[in-house]
């Protein structure tokens, strides 16, 4: 049967204490070197933990905050997750509903037999005007679901969609901040009205009653409107409604309904029936059935693992710096220029973290080499991937010179288990946390933007869990 065969999620390490912006609780904020693509890679890798990457035949990447207006993000996510080239990979953009739309199409793709396994990755890092209610409310995060035709842990019983034209929430081309009409209008004629229409349409068409559902997962503009919607549909907000996690994460845009679904699945057991509804110029509603295969997907970091691992920020300026909302002094120029040709030539080493292993002597080396550093054999190399390997720090420094949004910039030499050494930045980490021998894992991040090109690479970091 077709359905969800694995899930993963990613909540960034950092949380902004909402006291700083006049609210309660914490909101998840991605680091200065993260964006929708890097978070999608993180969620995808969590989802694909222990799963053969070669088996994935499609990737649907959903976001309202893509790095490019024209240029696909999906191929970048696919390389970060080390998927094959001969897959159908595309972006779903523009809407808070893009995540569930991608999910719906992934289910249809697999059901139609066009692919055996499709990965859905949704991520968002929406920006609110400093000190606005929107800024208080939104958070950053990502989710990934693997849709397959065998051993699905979560199958679809029914789905129903409404397409709705309304100018309630929108972000014009080239602008940083989301705009919105007044909440009384957007909540009543947008969110409440449309999701109610989708869910009641779904329930009527398939003869469901509210008590049929163990869990109801709803996209939520706020805690209050979410509970209001649930009650108006006849659900018990206390026992059935999935906690929308505003006090620990915030509204994560198009990833939100899927992240809340993963949170629900982490607590679900065989026999549970789950309702999911998104919102964004319409609504996608689904009814899911959980079976005992769910017990096989317990070893993900998911929502629980990532939410538990956190660093709380109370310095608002630091957050503004990370978002590029505070001008910074330019640093010393590097002598090199960006070359799209070199980037293309090096895409496997840069995005898949592919090194080489010498077939003559077994020495692993990164970046890929033609002449072995140890035995000098020429052209006897096989590809060797380092992204999933853990490593130990052989040395490190904390640079106070190069202006970066976060200082000091830590650079380390990492020795990988199984061989191989790499010099890299160590991110999300304070100098005091490190020592020679510290264990690190690799994470996909953004190095810089040059000539409008977003340059991605890997950094080391202390393990999240």
């Amino acid at each position: 049967m077709v359905g969800i065969t694995s899930y993963g999620a990613y909540v960034p390490l950092f949380r902004l204490d909402r006291k700083v912006v006049g609210g309660r609780g914490e909101k998840a904020i991605c680091g200065f070197d993260e964006d929708s693509i890097t978070m999608a890679v993180a969620a995808a890798r969590d989802c694909l933990n222990g799963i053969d990457r070669e088996a994935v035949e499609g990737l649907y990447f959903a976001t309202t905050t893509p790095p490019y207006a024209e240029k696909l993000g999906a191929p970048i996510v696919a390389m970060g997750a080390n998927l094959r080239r001969d897959i159908f990979a595309t972006d779903f953009a523009n809407s808070l509903r893009a995540g569930t739309s991608a999910l719906k199409l992934a289910l249809d793709t697999v059901k139609a037999g066009s692919a055996k396994k499709v990965l859905v990755a949704a991520a968002d890092c929406r920006l609110g005007i400093p000190r606005s209610a929107f800024e208080q409310n939104c958070g950053d995060g990502a989710c990934a679901l693997l849709i397959g035709d065998t051993d699905a842990a979560v199958t679809v019983e029914a789905s129903y969609s409404i397409s709705d034209e309304i100018v309630d929430i929108w972000r014009p081309e080239g602008e940083k901040f989301v705009r919105y009409w007044e909440e009384r209008f957007t909540a009543t004629m947008g969110y409440l009205s449309v999701v109610r229409e989708a869910v009641s349409g779904l329930m009527k068409k398939n003869n469901y009653k509210p008590s049929d559902f163990s869990k109801v997962v709803l996209y939520a503009p706020t805690d209050r409107r979410c509970a209001e919607l649930a009650r108006s549909l006849g659900f018990d907000a206390k026992t059935q409604l999935q906690n929308p996690l505003f006090d620990v994460m915030g509204n994560t845009g198009t990833a939100f309904p899927l992240m809340l679904l993963v949170a629900a699945l982490e607590e679900a057991k065989a026999g549970d029936r789950i309702l999911l509804a998104s919102y964004g110029n319409g609504s996608d509603a689904f009814v899911f059935q959980v079976n005992k295969q769910i017990e096989k997907i317990r070893d993900r970091r998911g929502m629980k693992g990532h939410l538990a691992s956190k660093k709380v920020i109370t310095d608002y300026m630091r957050y503004l710096r990370w978002r590029g909302l505070l001008p910074m002094e330019p640093g010393v120029k590097t002598v090199e220029f960006y070359s799209a040709v070199a980037a293309w030539r090096e895409r496997d080493q840069n995005l898949r973290l592919q090194g080489t292993r010498c077939q003559a002597c077994g020495t692993v080396q990164f970046p890929p080499q033609r002449i072995c550093t140890k035995c000098h054999a020429k052209d006897q190399m096989e590809p060797y991937y380092l992204s999933d390997k853990k490593g130990k720090i052989a040395t490190y420094v904390g640079d106070h010179i190069t202006p970066m949004p976060e200082m000091p910039t830590i650079t380390a030499e990492v020795d990988f288990e199984g061989g191989g050494r790499m010099e890299c930045y160590t991110t999300d980490t304070m100098l005091e946390q490190l020592a020679i021998g510290s264990v690190v894992e690799m994470t996909f991040r953004k190095m810089r933007v040059e000539d409008g090109v977003h340059i991605y690479f890997w950094k080391s970091t202390l393990p999240r869990t």
Binding site: G331, Y396, D399, E413
Partner: protein, 393 residues
Amino acid sequence: MESIAGKVAIVGMGCTKFGELWDKSFYDLIIDACYEAFEDAGLESKDIQAAWYGSRETGYTGTWLAGALKLEYIPVTRVENFCAGGQDVLRNACYGVASGVYDIALACGVEKCKDHNIGMSFLITNPFDRSMTEWALPPASQFGQYAIPYFRHYGLSDEEGRRILAKIAVKNHHNGTLNPKAHFQREITVEDVLNAPIISWPLGLYDACGVSDGCAAAIVTTPEIAKSLRKDYMLVKAQQIAVGGNQLKLQSGRDFHHIQENEEAAKKAYQEAGITNPRKEIDLAEVHDCFTITELLIYEGLGFSAPGKGPEDVEAGTFTLAGELPVNPDGGLKCFGHPISASGLRMTYEIYKQLQDKAGPRQVKNARIGLTHSLGGNLGQHICAISIFSMPD
């Protein structure tokens, strides 16, 4: 393979003051240093048959040198080898003479670092990286990678380690106060060093050399011609370079508490010069103290201190002007800054003056054999140049 020992002599040298020379163009510096060398040798620019020009940031080809000195259609080649460039430009001139093709050659290295905003002009990514995934690692964050592993390996706490490094900075600053050509000519204390702002943990501002303009030049000839010009010419006994092939960054498990390139170059240089006990036989040395940690590892890499014993020697004052083996008697990179392709020649200038007994208040007694050491490039891909000089017997 043959040795260069005894085949080449330095017969004249010049060196400008090093510093923030805002009002001096590179033409000015080249003329000042080269004409001091001509006068010192009793020669003129028309006597030069071939020239080598060292520069990393101040000009691309030999035409820069030809234009400054108005050289008339002789061969002039630019040499560039990062921080070893100053020694490499001299090496090229020496090999030109040793080959028997040229009788008199000129080596000149110059940089106008301070013409660039922030002085370094730009950082070299490692390796030359056009997909721009790599980081611009400032030198302090490259060489700084040797520090914590050294401390841990030899049982020093960060505090103890930083104190040893501070003493090296203090020593060099003291030597600089005795040198009118140095950029920095003031005393500092260990506390000054420890309290200075951190630039890349564990290195602070005073663990690093400054950024400066400067130029130095040497006139190289055969020992026969040198003899006809002066009694106190300087003989080249060894010139060796060892270049790393990125072994350190490609091979897991290699350690960061020693610098392999130093040891490889030293081994070859001592063999070429016939030196078996460097600590005893070398009378003074000018080494590449881009950072204090570098100088500490250099003591051990050159065999001046046994592995791990560098700190003891620092405490004992072994490498001070009054010590057993003065290192950086002129104040080093610490006080001269590091005009990249000039430093190797500035070091040679100090050895030259010391061996001629002309170092004034810095004079090392009985200076007969001197060594210069330069170390450039990123970790794993260092260029280590070592030269050894002596007076004629």
